[in-house]
Symmetry: none
Subunit: 130 residues, 4 copies
């Protein structure tokens, strides 16, 4: 799995990791039994502190999404596979609502907002999203 870390984002690094892993599992990109990159590997790859990664993994273990294999890293819990579309939409919802609220507050024409959104849905991320 490929993590995207934005160190300058207001959302803390450990939380970026937590959320990306959650979504990777929900979407089926990570499956039960798959093992995650080691704490040290992630830390090295993104030039962040191992404890930051460890904190993210610990939270995910706490919510039952990951399991610790003693001496052998973390794996996706058997009990927590991908989520149905309905549930994934529920996870997306607050982000849509948030964006829609901003669009409304800015008085932006809905069709224009939709058009912009469509463009971004197709293309891979560039730059430093909020």
């Amino acid at each position: 799995m490929l993590l995207e870390i934005h160190p300058s984002s207001p959302v803390p690094i450990y939380r970026q990791i937590v959320e990306q892993v959650r979504r990777a599992v929900a979407s089926g990109q990570l499956r039960p039994g798959d093992d995650l990159e080691s704490v040290r590997a992630v830390a090295l790859a993104h030039a962040i502190n191992p404890m930051t990664v460890s904190k993210a993994y610990a939270l995910l273990e706490g919510e039952g999404l990951l399991e610790r294999r003693r001496g052998a890293g973390m794996v996706v819990a058997q009990s927590r596979g991908s989520e149905p579309v309905r549930e994934r939409l529920r996870m997306l919802e607050p982000h849509l609502e948030s964006a829609a609220r901003v669009a409304r507050e800015l008085g932006i024409d809905p069709e224009r907002a939709l058009e912009e959104f469509r463009r971004r849905l197709g293309a891979p991320s560039k730059g430093n999203p909020k």
Copy 2:
């Protein structure tokens, strides 16, 4: 102007205020010369600390969006009216990108995401957006 405050949101209250005021000015909902609700009125209405409101207003004053009228509260600066559509789209952009990235990570069908987004663009906010 009607503020929406979500005390449990991860985004700090003073920032919620700052951003909503910025957008209200950008969209023309608030116009040069309009005066804002007093610090105390806002604080009372939303059961938050007056210092928090004050901090938000101070920041907006610092960026030249508001001006302090002695004894008469804050008003929108004469120099800072509504923004052209192009600029408002620029303000919306990171929110769209963020939502789009989440949709992609969740493996949600773009058409489905657009449809949901359209629905929310039309309706007023409900519940507790991110």
Copy 3:
């Protein structure tokens, strides 16, 4: 609330805190709305690192037992008051089972074990329990 910290115990300090707070809430010793000692106060009182305390509080917040009052410390969540006896017994159960298993493995006469247990139920803790 008075925490008992045993730094030399095999159970990590942050976990000792987590468990004692959980039980204090379950027993009604801490009630909804009560605020906890500040991170720094606890750290000072027990000569441990503030981050260790913070970690414990973060976990308790994560499980919904505590709430963060921004700028004003942590309080017991309104939604999480004391537990009925039945639930508290459930929390005690694994400890009883564990002790009973050891007694059985040691071939200790049940009446003798009960007698010893009775003695300890009455007296306050001394020394360094497991």
Copy 4:
């Protein structure tokens, strides 16, 4: 001797083995000269790593409880038979103290706790003790 291994327990597997063997010797269930199941047999039976079993045996050898019989596995040392009741009670003590402390913290009626404890002293272990 029948080992009970709980891989998900917070207490490490090698330590579960060490302690159960210690108690089996102390109680006389294992006697001087008795031989233990081979590392491989234990590892296979409980689906754990042979190195883990080996580590436990090595520790027990280190403390003089077991002896290595070349080509014939480990046996209980001639010098280390069962312990007197007094000593076995000493081994049980921290477990009782620990359980009692939890009961006190939970505000559980001592008589109720004793009653529960009595029940468990009679019955064989079920489920997944701490």
